[in-house]
């Protein structure tokens, strides 16, 4: 199925819009360029409403107003809303057949109120001779585009993320739903169940018609009982299998949480680390204080004085030693002279008789010398004192002990500060980790893991027990069937019934094997293809040091991603926005490719959150892998992708919201009502309708430059 054309009337902002889509196999991309608030989402909604009806609308159409908001007036008024879609179905046998689907409804609007009328849907096969009406349009569409696949083929970049984001059960349910629908697993399972019912019906018939043949009645009864029992056991096995897989996931998740928590730290262990860090910091601070004190004392020490005054001290010593050698130090003059006055003769041998004139003269001279000496005594005393007391001080300093001590104490201080800083950091890190720890403690996480592990093992045991029971019942069925066959072969009617039973049994076997093949081989194909596309989109080179190494879909329908060393990554937490988007688009493309379903992929803003290589790569791969690709892109999404669009885009339309004039649009579109305008401009062009300003003009800013002057 490929879309050819869509015409929309009065669907909200889309009052009159007609789009053509490319069906060229070489240029299979159609682009609708539109800025934000220019009708992209409305267009996607209108397309889905046209194809699927009200159930495709938000809230399944409840409280959804179809008609334009400005259609209301004071008077009650009827507005006809319609979506017309032309599509082509290709078949090798009958070639291309073109259909036109028209869905319309009337809304009565008055002021802010509206009332829905009846929705009509009609389908025509378009032929050269005219349009032939087709019966039951919804039934015609449904096999090709079932409602459950709507979100696979018609999606927006954000909604598609729900395949890998949100609650894990919801993710799995959505992934499983998409895979089952697209691969046709549901159809096969339903067929298997129905053929089983047919077989059961045949058995009941044999039992009814057994008449007086007790042996045949008994064996039929036994078979009916076994055949009724077997689906119940299968159902239980399925239920336990689901539980087992879910519990396996929960166990793994609990294990991951525990590992994360342990990596972040055990609360008790972290508290120990914090206490050790505190003790280390306190000890280092003590050492630093002591070193600071020693440092200060060093400046008060004799060493520093001797070191700094070495030169003057040397000179002083020379002078004092000189005075000592001259006998001026110590001073002995006064006691010698005073002693002489008590003697009858002088040192020189002359008499000092106080009664004689000469003696008196000499004595006066000695007294005069004593008085003179006394005048210089104070200086003399101090020099003498200095000479003796400064002997140690003036002794030359050996080596440089002060500077050595200075360096030593300085190093001690630095070491203590460094230790203090390191312990402080360790303390803060431990505190931060403790603050970061979830409320649940490690023990609680261990308990959870252990609980899930036990429940998982229990489910596994139950599953195994029931599988064994099922195998045994199936063997019983085979034995009973053999016995029944012998009994049935005894008459013609029995032989006929036996032939039917054989056919039903063959059907059952084929359908079971086909289902198993689809679940394993086909699912693996989807998984492998998704992995290849995803890695190519994000440019992950596994042979190099890629952070993301592979992605896969598990048997339990979970999409999982692995990093280096096969470390599992949680897509909703460990992948960036661009990678998540690439993964979901890779999943959708892989699924549609493997299923060989030929339907258009319509994606609104697929390149949001992406840039550079990943952006262009997603666009290129999505185009190559789709049978028809219709993208709604903003101007920003298009930037950098022009060359790829040059190569693949077969149709381009631009949608413009006139309400953006004059703020964003350059020219007045000349439209008074609220409606989206369409032009044929491609991603490199603009016209009077769609020309827009790309950036906010600072010159036109209403903001004044703030006054930067300050009063002194």
């Amino acid at each position: 199925m490929k879309l050819l054309r869509e015409r929309i009337e009065n669907f909200r902002l889309l009052k009159e819009v007609e789009l053509q889509f490319s069906t060229d196999t070489d240029r299979k991309l159609s682009v609708i360029r539109a800025a934000n608030e220019s009708g992209k989402t409305t267009l996607l909604t209108a397309l889905q409403w046209g194809l699927f009806g009200d159930k495709a609308l938000p809230g399944r159409g409840k409280n959804f107003r179809h008609s334009p908001l400005d259609a209301s007036s004071g008077e009650a008024k009827s507005v006809t809303v319609s979506v017309e879609i032309d599509y082509v179905m290709s078949d090798l046998a009958s070639g291309d057949t073109i259909y036109r689907l028209i869905r319309s409804m009337t809304e009565t609007v008055k002021g802010g109120d509206w009332k829905k009328g009846r929705t009509d849907v009609c389908l025509f096969q378009l032929k050269l001779t005219g349009a032939d009406p087709m019966p039951n349009p919804d039934a015609h569409i449904s096999p090709y585009l079932p409602e459950e696949l709507r979100e696979v083929f018609f999606t927006d970049g954000d909604r598609a993320l729900s395949f890998v984001e949100g609650a894990r059960d919801d993710q799995k349910e959505r992934v499983e739903g998409a895979i089952r629908s697209l691969l046709g697993l549901g159809v096969m399972e339903k067929a298997h169940g129905d053929v089983h019912e047919v077989e059961l019906g045949l058995n009941r018939k044999i039992k009814r018609e057994a008449g007086n043949r007790n042996d045949l009645r008994e064996i039929s009864e036994r078979l009916v009982s076994l055949q009724e029992e077997i689906p119940q056991i299968e159902k239980k096995i399925n239920s336990f299998e689901k539980s087992r897989l879910r519990l396996e996931d929960l166990e793994q998740e609990a294990d991951r949480k525990l590992s994360d928590a342990l990596r972040k730290g055990n609360r008790t262990e972290l508290e120990k680390q914090r206490q050790t860090a505190i003790r280390g910091r306190e000890s280092a601070e003590k050492d630093a204080t002591q070193a600071a004190r020693d440092h200060a004392n060093l400046f008060k020490s004799e060493f520093l004085g001797k070191h700094l005054l070495a030169e003057p001290f040397k000179k002083a010593k020379e002078i004092l030693d000189g005075l000592h050698r001259q006998g001026k130090i110590p001073s002995q003059t006064i006691p010698v002279l005073e002693d002489r006055l008590n003697q009858p003769t002088c040192i020189c041998g002359e008499h000092l008789d106080p009664n004689g004139q000469d003696g008196q003269k000499r004595r006066r001279h000695i007294q005069h010398l004593i008085d003179e000496s006394r005048n210089s005594d104070e200086i003399q005393r101090k020099v003498t004192e200095l000479f003796y007391s400064a002997q140690d001080l003036l002794r030359p300093v050996a080596g440089h002990p002060w500077i050595d001590e200075y360096n030593d104490v300085q190093a001690r201080r630095q070491r203590a500060h460094r230790r203090s800083k390191e312990h402080g950091e360790a303390e803060r890190a431990a505190e931060a980790k403790i603050a970061d720890l979830p409320d649940v403690d490690i023990q609680q996480l261990r308990d959870s893991r252990s609980r899930y592990r036990n429940q998982h093992r229990d489910a596994q045991r139950q599953e195994m027990r029931l599988t064994h029971q099922l195998e045994s019942k199936r063997r019983d069925v085979k034995d009973a069937e053999k016995e029944r066959k012998k009994l049935l072969d005894q008459d013609e009617q029995g032989q006929k019934l036996d032939a039917e039973l054989e056919v039903a049994r063959d059907l059952q076997d084929i359908l079971i094997n086909a289902l198993e093949t689809m679940k394993t081989r086909e699912l693996k194909k989807v998984s492998d293809h998704m992995n290849a596309l995803f890695l190519e989109m994000i440019g992950s080179d596994v042979s190099q040091r890629a952070i993301i190494t592979r992605a896969e879909i598990t048997e339990a329908f979970s999409i999982v991603v692995f990093g280096r060393y096969d470390q599992p990554l949680d897509p909703s937490q460990d992948l960036n926005g661009a990678s998540r988007r690439a993964l979901t688009i890779a999943f959708i493309l892989a699924l549609t490719k493997v299923s060989e379903v030929e339907a258009p992929n319509v994606i609104d803003t697929p390149l949001g959150m992406t840039s550079g290589y990943v952006k262009t790569s997603i666009l290129k791969i999505a185009t190559q892998q789709s049978s028809q690709l219709i993208l709604f892109l903003t101007h920003d999404e298009i930037k950098g992708c022009e060359e790829i669009l040059d190569r693949y885009a077969g149709r381009v339309h631009t949608m413009t919201n006139p309400a953006h004039y004059p703020t964003i649009l350059v020219n007045d579109p000349g439209v008074d009502d609220t409606r989206v305008l369409l032009c044929a401009c491609n991603y490199r062009q603009h016209c009077e309708i769609c020309e827009r300003r790309e950036t906010v003009s600072l010159e036109d800013s209403d903001f004044d430059t703030p006054d930067m002057t300050m009063e002194a």
Binding site: L145, L182, A191, D194, V195, V198, I510
Partner: protein
């Protein structure tokens, strides 16, 4: 188209080689039956009515084919 018949046929085709040739022409009849069953399931998925009776009729036809073929070969 969704749940592509081609894909389902392809998988079923792989399985059909294992079906025993219970009588001459049985595999061909059986293949037709299988295609009919899948088509009935698809058609009835839209029509919302029980498909068991229709499948039972199809099984009956092939069963009778088998019975007649065996009877003919016995004679």
């Amino acid at each position: 188209m969704a749940y592509n018949n081609k894909k389902i046929r392809e998988v079923l085709q792989d399985q059909i080689v294992d079906v025993p040739q219970r009588c001459e022409g049985y595999k061909e009849e059986f293949t037709r039956l299988l295609v009919n069953v899948v088509n009935l399931e698809r058609a009835h998925a839209i029509a919302k009515r029980s498909v068991v009776k229709d499948i039972a009729n199809e099984v009956h036809k092939v069963g009778m084919f088998l019975y007649r073929s065996r009877s003919a070969s016995d004679e």
